[in-house]
Amino acid sequence: MIVEISHFLAIISTALFFLAGLFALTIKNTFYTTNLISKTFSHAFLFFSASFFIYIYLAITDDFSVQYIANHSNSALPIFYKISSIWSAHEGSMFLWIFFLALWGFIFNIFIKNTEILKPKTIGIISLVIVGFLLFLLITSNPFVTILPIAPVNGADINPVLQDPALAIHPPTLYLGYVGFVIPFACSMAFLINNDASVKWESLVRKWSVMAWIFLTIGITLGSWWAYYELGWGGYWFWDPVENVALMPWLAATAFLHSLSVSIKSSHLRTWTILLSISVFSLSLFGAFIVRSGIIDSVHSFANDPQRGLYLLAFISAIILISLSLFISRFSLTRNHRSIKTLSKESFISINNIFFVTLIFSIMLGVTYPLIYEYFYDQKISVGAPFYNAIFIPIVILASIFLFFSIESKWSRSLDLKIFINPIFISLFLSFVATLIVFINLEKINIFVLLSIFTGLLIIFRYLIEIWSSFVYKKYLNPFSAIAHFALGLLLVSISLNSLLSSERALNIKINEYEEYKDLNIYFRDLNLVKGPNYDSVKANFVVEDQNGKSFNLYPEKRRYSRRGQITTETAIYITPFRDIYLTIGDQLEDGSWIVNIQINFLIRWIWFSAFLMAFAGVVLISSKRKV
C-alpha cells in the first residue's frame, strides 16, 4: 500500500525533526554541530516532503482506499480540484500546514549560512514546532487512515462551494502567511537563548517576515473576494470570527514590521519587537485553534472534535508560556538606555504599535466575549459590525492622522512640526476640497465616513507629493513605505465610499417583467433548467440597462449538487471600474414571481486592489537591493 509508505515517511521525519531540535537546543553549537543540525533538518524535510507528495499522488490517482481521499475527492473532478481537495477538510489541511511550516524552515536553512550565529537554535526551534504539529497530525487527525479491505468505488466529492479556483489558492496562501511567522518567532527565541545583545536578529528576519506578511495579505484578500462572489455574501468583510482570527495576526504582523524597522535602525523598541514576534506567531496558532476546535460556529470551522482542541490549546499554551518566560528572564537584553526622541520616526512607530495592539485587543474581545457570555448566562449573543466599526473607525482615523505627520519625521531626530510647510499644506487643502465635493454631491452624510475619506485622501495626496518630489528633486523616498501607505489611503477612501454609496434591494419579479432600481432597468427575460457535470441548475437571464442606455446580460443561478444534495447560489456580477452590479436569485413565490436580490457595490474592486497593492509593496521591499 502506497499510503503506508507515505505514513511511514511522515513518522520517520517526525523523529528526525525531533533530533534536529534536540541537538540544537542541548549541544553547544560549534561549526560542526551547526552543520549536523542543518543536514538533519534538510533530511527530515526531504522525508516529509516525500510523504506529502506521495499523498498528492494518491489523491490524483483516486486511491479511495485512503479514507480521507474517499471522503473528500471524486474521480470525476478535474486534477486541479483533486489536489485542492486535500486541503478541503481538517486532516489534509493540517498536513499542508505542516508541509509549509517545514518548507519555510527548509528555505531558511538553505539561504542562511552556517556561520550565522543564531542559525542552529532557530532551526532547532522550528523543528520542535514542526514536531508539535506532526504529533497533532499523527495522533489526533491522521490523514493516512485506510478503508480496508473493501475500498469504495468512488469518492464522496469535494464540497461544491470549494470547487473554485480562488478557494483552491486561498487556504494555501493564507497558511504560507501564518506559518511563515515561525521564522521571526524562532529567531527572536534563538536571540534570547543566545543571550548576547549585540547580535542583530532583527535584520536577519526582515525579508522573511515581509514575505510571510505578503502571503498573509494576499490570503486574506483572496478569502474576502471569494466570499463575495462564491458564497453570495455580497460584501468584502463580515467580521466573521474566522475572518477576525486572520486579521489579528495580520495586524500584529504589520505592527511587527514597523517595530522591526526601528529595531534595525536604532536598536530601540526591541522589547516591542520581540513581544510582537511572539504575538504574531501565537495569534496564527490561535487562529488554527479557533477554527479546528469547534469552539465557534462559522463557515470556516472544521468538524468539531474536543480532543483536537485540547491538544492544540495545550500546544499553544506551551509555546506562549515558554517564550514569555524566556523573554522575561532575558529582559535586560532588550533594554536600550537611550530614550526615544519625541516626534522622531521611532516615537511615531511606537505610537503606531499602541494603536495596533489596541485594535488586536478589541478584536480579541469581540471574538471571546460571546463565548464567555454564553458560558455564564447560557445565551447566545453576537458581536458584529457595529462593535468593530465603533472601535476601528476612530482608531484608524487617528492612526492615519499620525501617519500623515510622521511622513515628515526623521530617524532619531525631533520633528519640527510646522503645519504651513508646503506638502502638508497642499495635501490638507486638496483633501479638504475633495471631501467637500463628496459632501456636496451626496444625500447621505455620516461624519465618520467623511472623516475617513478626508484622512485617506490626506495620505494619498501627501504621498503623491512625495513621489513627485522624488522624481523631480531626487528627494529620497522609501518605495516600500510609500506604496504600502498609499494603498492604505486608497483602502480607506474605497471602504468609506463603498459604505456610503452601495445599496441593495430584494425584488419580486416575474418572467418577462420589468423592474426599476436606482438608475437601472431590469428585465427578467428567461429561466432555464441546466444540467451541469455534477449538478442541476436553475439559470435565470436578466437584461439590465443603465441610464446611458448600455445593456448587458446577467445569469444568476441556483445549483443543486447531485452527490451531496447541497444547494448553492451562483451570483452574476457585472463589473465596471467604479461599481459592481450584483444579482442573486432566491426562491420562487406562490404567484410565480422570483425573489431577486440586486446590489450596487461601489468601489469594491478598489478595496481588493488596495490590499493587493499593499502586498505588492512587500514585493518591492524584498526585491530591493537594500540590506535591511
Binding site: S282, I295, N304, I328, Y375, R564, G565
Partner: protein
C-alpha cells in the same frame, strides 16, 4: 524590570488560555438543536396516500414529526433510524416536503414506511410555518406544542443528545 510588569506579561496570556480550557471543556449546545416552544401551526392538508384532509387537531398526544422528501439524500440515510423508532412504538408523523405524490409513494414502497401518518405538504407551506429550512428536520411535539426541533440527519446519537432529555423530563412515550 519591575516585577509587576513581569507578572502582567505572563498572567495576561495565562488567564486567556485558562479561559479557553474552561470554554473548551464546557458541554456545548448541539448545533442544529432548538428548544423554543411554539404551537403547532394551523393547517389543512391532504394525506399522502388517501388524500383525506388532515388538520392540526388530528395530531394528538406526543409524537415525532419528520420532514422528508424523495429527492433528499440525507433522508435515505436517516430512514433506517426512523424505522427503528417506529418499531419501538414511538409514533412518527411524516411531512412530505415539496415533493411529487408519486415519487414519494414509490420511495416508501422501495425503502419501507416508518410513518403513522403522512402529510403531503407539496408547497412547503406548513414546513415554512414550522421554521423548516430544508429536509430532513425532526420535531418533537407534545399536545399540539413543538418542544424540540433538530435540523439535519437524525440518528441514535442525536436522539440521545437532543430528544431523550426532553422526553425524560416530560415523561413522554410511556
Amino acid at each position: 524590570m519591575k516585577i509587576l510588569l513581569k507578572l502582567l506579561i505572563i498572567s495576561l496570556p495565562i488567564s486567556f488560555l485558562f479561559m479557553f480550557f474552561v470554554l473548551l471543556n464546557e458541554d456545548k449546545q448541539i448545533p442544529g438543536a432548538d428548544y423554543r416552544e411554539f404551537d403547532l401551526p394551523i393547517f389543512n392538508l391532504e394525506d399522502l396516500d388517501s388524500k383525506r384532509v388532515i388538520k392540526n387537531t388530528d395530531i394528538k398526544g406526543a409524537s415525532i414529526i419528520n420532514i422528508w422528501a424523495s429527492w433528499c439524500i440525507t433522508c435515505q440515510i436517516e430512514h433506517p433510524y426512523l424505522m427503528s423508532l417506529n418499531k419501538r412504538g414511538i409514533p412518527v408523523i411524516g411531512i412530505n416536503y415539496k415533493d411529487e405524490r408519486d415519487d414519494a409513494i414509490n420511495w416508501l414502497s422501495k425503502f419501507g414506511n416508518p410513518y403513522q401518518l403522512i402529510i403531503h405538504d407539496n408547497k412547503g407551506s406548513l414546513a415554512l410555518d414550522m421554521g423548516v429550512t430544508g429536509a430532513p428536520e425532526t420535531f418533537l411535539v407534545n399536545n399540539g406544542k413543538i418542544v424540540a426541533h433538530y435540523q439535519g440527519e437524525i440518528n441514535a446519537s442525536i436522539w440521545n443528545k437532543v430528544f431523550a432529555p426532553i422526553i425524560e423530563e416530560q415523561g413522554l412515550f410511556k
